[in-house]
């Protein structure tokens, strides 16, 4: 299960294929027409809805300005088998990213830029952590994302002939990026970069050609630029 807060999340969840199990609701939800509509949809959905006081809601909510709605839904059971394989594949691989805000923003970016799927390797923050879901701004409900292991990724890559590139500030500057049709791009931890397991596997270490770059880029921004350059 995972938790998503706020009216917009509830709307998107109810409109998606995800299974909404329950909701925590306070009187505040009914202060806006959108909130009333969400409440009606929830009641019709068969989810169990629990009405609580404003104080109880605030103690359960994670956001600073709660909107009176917190939805509980099932984490979809996805794996590499869920990927709808075409000639072009853009797989994003998260290798030990720890900051929930970064991971949520990266999922949002992947969804917006047409990435096929995102997979999180061991050591990465839980994709369905409430803060990741919040930063994802609805991406979780549309974009295919799931946990996996290196073994599973190895097997998938071997059977689908998918190349593996890693991103690193000291890598080979690429521009324009001439990428294989099927590519998995690994992004490493905020501080430590790629794991030894990633380094042992990647065919190329690539960097953005940003010149002398005394400064480094935030990982979500760097990933965003890479995914933009790699989109098809």
């Amino acid at each position: 299960m995972f938790v998503a807060e706020g009216i917009r999340s509830a709307e998107e969840l109810l409109a998606s294929r995800m299974r909404v199990v329950g909701a925590l609701v306070s009187a505040r939800l009914l202060e806006t027409p959108r909130g009333v509509a969400v409440r009606t949809q929830l009641d019709q959905s068969g989810a169990s809805v629990l009405d609580v006081s404003e104080a109880d809601f605030t103690s359960a909510a994670d956001t600073e300005s709660p909107q009176g709605i917190l939805v509980i839904a099932e984490v979809p059971r996805h794996s590499f088998d869920s990927i709808d394989l075409g000639p072009v594949l853009r797989l994003l691989v998260l290798d030990g990213l720890q900051d929930p805000g970064n991971v949520g923003t990266i999922l949002r970016t992947a969804a917006a830029l047409g990435v096929t799927a995102t997979t999180a390797l061991p050591g990465t923050v839980d994709l369905w952590n409430a803060k990741v879901v919040r930063s994802g701004m609805g991406a979780h409900f549309h974009h295919l994302c799931f946990d996996s292991t290196w073994d599973e990724l190895d097997a998938f890559r071997a059977s689908t002939h998918t190349a593996l590139w890693g991103t690193e500030a000291s890598g080979e500057p690429v521009e324009p990026i001439r990428a294989p049709e099927r590519l998995a791009l690994v992004v490493g931890n905020e501080g430590g970069g790629l794991s030894p397991a990633a380094r042992a596997r990647v065919e190329r270490l690539v960097a953005l050609p940003i010149g002398s770059a005394v400064e480094s880029l935030n990982v979500a921004v760097a990933t965003g630029i890479f995914l933009y350059l790699l989109r098809r």
Copy 2:
């Protein structure tokens, strides 16, 4: 004045041209050689250093894992007059951005991608807010950034023949971007987008060509991609 926390910030501040006024230090700082070196530099710098208990330090610090050093420095007095004008100008204009993490990340990106300067218009979070400084990861100490008003920006643009573009998801998709030599790019608020004052002034509203894009991009990621495409 502004506050910067942590060993790395202290190192960068002491190595920069900024004026360090004082520091709050706890015993933890002396647990690492880097910390000891920072302490020595601080003592030699003439800044007033106050030693406090771990408990007092934690109550003053904003970070979750304080490193025993909090530096107080002067906000540099910059304005459009500080811009070293060449044939190419890339000016980033923040129009009402509210999230400190976004603004810090944008400053870090601007510094890394060679933006000439960043200016914050009224309604934007304080560039020297501790959270903005922390997300900036040292960008504030190298990258020219300052507050300004629309009047000041208008006068600067008129005297330097600088074009003004605004970014908006529904704007005209541009790629490749053929930008004027001197360009100011305005980025709007996370939720509300560009202000009426910006809309009244921009010569073009531009968007990233990301297709149907049901999803939008985080403002720091979108700005990062724009600045990458606009770099010279």
